[in-house]
Symmetry: C2
Subunit: 178 residues, 2 copies
Amino acid sequence: MKPFNVFFDVLEGKMNLLGNKTVRRYNDIKGIFCEIDPKLEKENPVIYEVFEAPITEKEGDLMFLITVLYPGKVKNEFFMTKGHYHVIENTAEIYLGLRGNGLVLCQTREGDFEPIEISPNKVVYIPPYWAHRTVNTSSEPLVFFGVYPAHAGHDYKSVELEGFKKRVFFENGGIHIK
Amino acid sequence: MKPFNVFFDVLEGKMNLLGNKTVRRYNDIKGIFCEIDPKLEKENPVIYEVFEAPITEKEGDLMFLITVLYPGKVKNEFFMTKGHYHVIENTAEIYLGLRGNGLVLCQTREGDFEPIEISPNKVVYIPPYWAHRTVNTSSEPLVFFGVYPAHAGHDYKSVELEGFKKRVFFENGGIHIK
């Protein structure tokens, strides 16, 4: 592989040179929210999109991506990503906030839990062994740049089975993690 | 290590939670330029600063940093960084431009050479095995965010011995790589 560059649109969160694009609609992931919303089932909106660079999943390489997590709620629970551990668990991940505000929920298999704020010009460090899920608590798209070792892999299954210890709701005019 | 976040100032290029800070002044690195400037020897200005996050150099972790490379020239050669290979050569590096414009000069031990542009909202991908040096070709500080595997290490010695195949000059009102 040769060195290259990619331009991206910070507001739209899109790259001009794309590898993989993942689109998650409500019906693809509705099971992660604590309630079902029949109106959203019918409309089936895009909850988030992930634009990954054209990098192979080889040890030594780094994957980089832009995620656009749209604003919205399922009843009073904020839109969020599925969340995952890395398959190669001893691999970290770094997010840089570009637009909007939210929380990165982090937890370990031992039960530790940490909600970390993400916003423009804030870098979030997710150490090795921590699962991570992102929640958009703002009224605009939450856009962030991410980097992780290209061979890390995604373990969604463990999060589907365990869930996250806490959820994020809009209640009484405020953001509540519970 | 627990998850955490860090805020940084895109214009100034400074983080609010710092690990290592490296400051390179003209006299520390004057040998990398093709000519000596006695005026700069006397003034000894800061050529660049690197602000690294408080991450240990362990395999599995990722280091992140902000570099501020000031504008200026030694005679007609643009200010640049020392440049290095990684000690663990099978490790990539990613830069995200935040302010200013420049070039990331990349080369391999086999003699391949690629100059890659860096500017705001542009991501530069430096694959494993490529040495890299950054040049500020603009009239403002070149500020970029960088990520690399925390155990990669810096091999400056090879670049001191080999040099880079090409240099970047301001001549006849334009930027020349030669």
